[in-house]
Point group: none
Chain length 212, copies 4
């Protein structure tokens, strides 16, 4: 799950004091926790405030312009963390297939490093319909990201590294396969991120590879 620069930048911009930024981060962290543990429906300001150790929900409304502003910040934070973890690992690879593998494995590995982050994002993205203006452009970011990935696949196909197939379908399948394990990992008893990531990467390696 990669982040577009544009989004990540907006948060943490100028005009906020240090304490304010700290409070916001604290609230966002609590929101991630609650979203992952209890789901979007039960991620009320009440619960989030409680999780954050705050005495009132007014506090949250004071720091965020509304619920979808908070959710937007949650998404931004997760994307920031994901990018910081995944990007170096992907860029360390030089081959197309190596980068695909690194993308999948590092994404799954995130479930172990920050177990609550991706599930929280999944809750937000699933439940926020395009109706709220703030989250609207988030959908665009995700779409743009997927288009980019499809484009990179196209390059790999042109260079003969990948076989011929519909790049968007492949991108969606990868996204879906990862999203599924994101939501299910906590339920799977003996879940091991490293093994799972490797298996999943193998799977898509087979699916994209030219047959010899």
């Amino acid at each position: 799950m990669e982040a577009k620069d544009g989004i990540a930048k907006q948060a943490g911009g100028r005009g906020r004091t240090f304490t304010e930024e700290a409070r916001r981060a604290q609230i966002v962290g609590a929101a991630i926790e609650v979203l992952a543990d209890a789901g979007y429906a039960k991620a009320t300001f009440s619960r989030i405030a409680k999780q954050a150790g705050l005495s009132s929900t007014g506090m949250i409304s004071y720091h965020f312009s509304g619920k979808d502003d908070l959710m937007r910040e949650v998404a931004a934070e997760v994307l920031r963390v994901a990018e910081a973890y995944m990007l170096p690992r992907i860029q360390a690879e030089s081959s197309y297939s190596g980068r695909l593998r690194a993308y999948i494995e590092s994404n799954v590995a995130l479930l172990e490093v920050h177990p609550k982050h991706l599930p929280a994002l999944a809750e937000v993205m699933t439940n926020q319909r395009g109706d709220t203006p703030t989250v609207k452009d988030f959908v665009h970011v995700m779409e743009a990201t997927m288009n980019e990935q499809a484009e990179r696949i196209r390059l790999a196909q042109r260079d003969g590294a990948f076989r011929e197939f519909d790049p968007m379908v492949m991108t969606a399948a990868i996204r879906g396969a990862i999203d599924f394990v994101v939501t299910q990992a906590s339920r799977l008893p003996g879940f091991d991120a490293t093994t799972y990531g490797r298996e999943l990467a193998d799977l898509f390696d087979r699916a994209t590879r030219r047959t010899p």
Copy 2:
């Protein structure tokens, strides 16, 4: 009228009049519509009643013992429809790979035949945490289904039809890839179920196939 102390409404079997069954079907249909269009959070009795052309929400409470009873019925209805459509198509195939392809293609095809059904089910399954007793066993059904599929994959591997890989990871990837298109199909502009299904089936055919 709740099961607790009201006059019991027996689930399934006889005991329901024709009109009652018709009303229930009408309400379930409206619920599917609303779930698909507006998401679980906004699928309130109010909205569903309005969609169904009913004057009050009391009507729904009259026919269903509660919200999760309704949701349960929604899930049951979708599964019924899905099974009716997919099963014959799967059973028509005799080879392991043929059945896998039929499973994927018929599942995706359902998005064209009943565009609201699978999205509605996805909303219910995503948002109903294991907390509601009625939906709890639905999760078990889904888990059982996935275990079954993994078992069939194992057989295919033993018979040498599929290569060696972790059956559960493959099952999860297939489920995830399909779920993703279920939730995204309505957003994709030129989405064509037949093409998409074939591409996705190709993908997993490659991923499971023994390399020659």
Copy 3:
């Protein structure tokens, strides 16, 4: 708890068929049961219908003109039963103190013969405020009954059988003492109506008796 003739008569008057009367009796019986077991607040048409083995609440509305009509009938039935049990036992006594004792003892004894009747009546009388027109005159009946008792006490005092005290206070105390055991009997573990009735009669015998 004695009944004024006027009330008891109204129910069971002409104009009702045999089956209708039977249905009404069945419903009243169920209502008494539910009132005693679950209290007035939970004595809904739903529960009463279920207790009576009826399939719908409409049935009750069909036979009674409303909830307070049903409650009125419940009260009338209890008064009828109480009168039938108590009156002969009271009239068998010739002395003032004997009649007082018979009144108290037979009233308490009713808790053993018909354990649900008096508690049901207590629920109705406690919760029906004077606002409903049908129950309004019931209150008058009770008041009249108490006035009568006070009058009889006055006669006993005039005849020198009882000492001097305020007859209304005594009447109220007797009523209250009995009502209390009516509502509490089911909670008292080793409650024995005969012993309790004798003790209570002793108590009021002492309270009314001339000191030698």
Copy 4:
């Protein structure tokens, strides 16, 4: 904001601001008023809010964790007031019979000082079946109080101050006689608490006294 997942409101002790305490008292006062005037069934949040001059029922839910929390507070308030009034008057007496008289007279006198309090408590105790957890222990308090009174009676009998009789029956009769006047006082036209209390105390003095 429920205790379950909301921000906990600690009962009693510190943690409540002055304004909050004032609002709670105001709401409890309004509830007492409505309970006494309209009865438990009609003591809805709506009515109580209206009586308190509040614009919405949400206000009540904000300050109390639920209906039985409010009812519990009502009961606690009444008991507090009753104890403050009655205890000094009882303790001022040194003889057994003096204390019994003081108990009865001060209890009845409360109907004049706070005419709505005891009726409100009666409504709560009558209509709250043991089912609500919060009020459950209130019943225990009442039972314990009655057991205490019975014990004191036993002491008086051992010391030869009272004649022999069943202490629990006497306790129940006293309780019932007082409860009755609590519920009926408002209906009695020329009710005078002082006279009534004295008469009732006389009655039970006779009932308990050793015959010379």
